[in-house]
């Protein structure tokens, strides 16, 4: 182990550059998967005959596959049917599909947890179905969903590391390269990477806990 050599300025810059890509991928994917998840979760909640059923099947298939396979699929399989994406966008699309499916389950159970009496009350007070959903159900549901949602975002940030399989130059990719240059650097590099992930995720998990305690 060589901490001093491993933490030289060029090496630190190299690892931090990777972490920046990790954060970038995570940030875009969090926004997109939140939108997709809310859409899919709402579709299942509405119980529109065919649509809700189809959404359920697609969501269940995606949730039951390894994310690594989904990311690999985006980069290796899609070009065969004419869709080519960079490693960056393959990762973003793969993460969005997988985490979006996970989030849709959170959204669905959040919406389902709102008492049905509220729908009846607001419908009988003259609100339309859309108004009821938009003004009464969704705001309350979203508040209840926020703690598991933040946990899912923590998973998402960790999951970006799987993009190493398609050579996205994120932090773990750079850590591996550094370890390849000098194998005395690998443990210090892994510790640094762990610390960076930990700082961001621990902050998020404190936010999640705050949100949770506010609700009770």
């Amino acid at each position: 182990m060589d901490f001093i050599g491993a933490y030289s300025i060029p090496n630190l810059t190299f690892i931090l550059k990777g972490f920046l890509i990790t954060l970038e991928v995570a940030f875009i994917s969090i926004i997109l998967s939140f939108l997709l998840g809310t859409l899919l979760g709402t579709l299942r909640y509405t119980r529109i005959p065919v649509v809700a059923r189809l959404t359920a099947i697609v969501v269940d298939i995606i949730r039951n596959l390894p994310l690594l396979l989904i990311i690999f699929f985006m980069k290796i399989v899609l070009p065969q049917i004419g869709i080519s994406m960079s490693p960056f966008w393959s990762t973003v699309v793969g993460l969005t599909l997988f985490e979006g499916a996970m989030i849709s389950e959170i959204v669905r159970s959040g919406l389902n947890s709102i008492d049905k009496g509220q729908i009846e009350a607001s419908r009988s007070s003259g609100l339309s179905y859309m108004q009821t959903f938009w003004n009464i159900i969704l705001p309350q549901g979203l508040r209840r969903m926020s703690p598991p949602m933040v946990s899912q975002f923590i998973s998402l940030l960790k999951d970006t590391s799987l993009a190493i399989i398609i050579s996205l130059p994120e932090i773990m990719h750079n850590v591996q390269i550094l370890g390849g240059q000098n194998f005395n650097y690998i443990i210090p590099a892994l510790i640094l990477a762990a610390a960076l992930y930990f700082i961001v995720n621990y902050t998020l998990s404190i936010i999640a806990r705050r949100l949770e305690s506010k609700m009770h």
Binding site: P66, L68, V77, S161, I165, N201, S205
Partner: protein, 221 residues
Amino acid sequence: MGNFDVTLVFDHWDRYMDGFINTIQVSIIALIGSFILGAIIAIFRIAPFKPLNWFGTAYVEVIRNIPLLIVVFFFYLGLPSLGIALDGFVSGTLGLTVYTAAFIAEAIRAGIQAVPTGQSEAARATGLSYLQTMIHIILPQAIKIVLPAIGNQFINLVKNSSILAVVAGMDLMYYADLINSDTFLPLTVYTFVALFYLVLTVPLSYAVLYMERRFNIADNK
């Protein structure tokens, strides 16, 4: 479409099976390992001894907030730099075990703490020892929360075992890569890989759902 060739799965059946069986093996070994390790960590977290609490908490918090890949790389790339060489299969399995143990520890702790304290006080008051209280009163009730959670962790293990492909760990994803380099038919190769994973994870998901519903009904009676 000339891209899809169903007969591929028969031509390469042996390699698919090698990978599939290794994936199942890793998942089961890591499940057993992480259950044992997770139970120990859970006991550490609720034991009436502060340093053990701290260790248990630190373990859970650190592991839950870092990617599985860091843990696997520690075994696969880190240990060799200290003179301990492990192959991809072993380091992947160890990484999965250490990682999943943190989640199982949390599930066990949550299960035990969900049982109202009045129950253990009552049991102790009737003359049962601490161990008897745990075995006869607390654990049978905690299992309702712990069992579905462990089922979910098993599903995660099956999916996460694909990380072995990153360290040449001979799992399903790894063999798929070999088949793909021979055939250049990624759509077919990976569609079958997806099916093999679903054969494992979908029935497990339904089993967990069934457990959750059963325990819920029992609670509401």
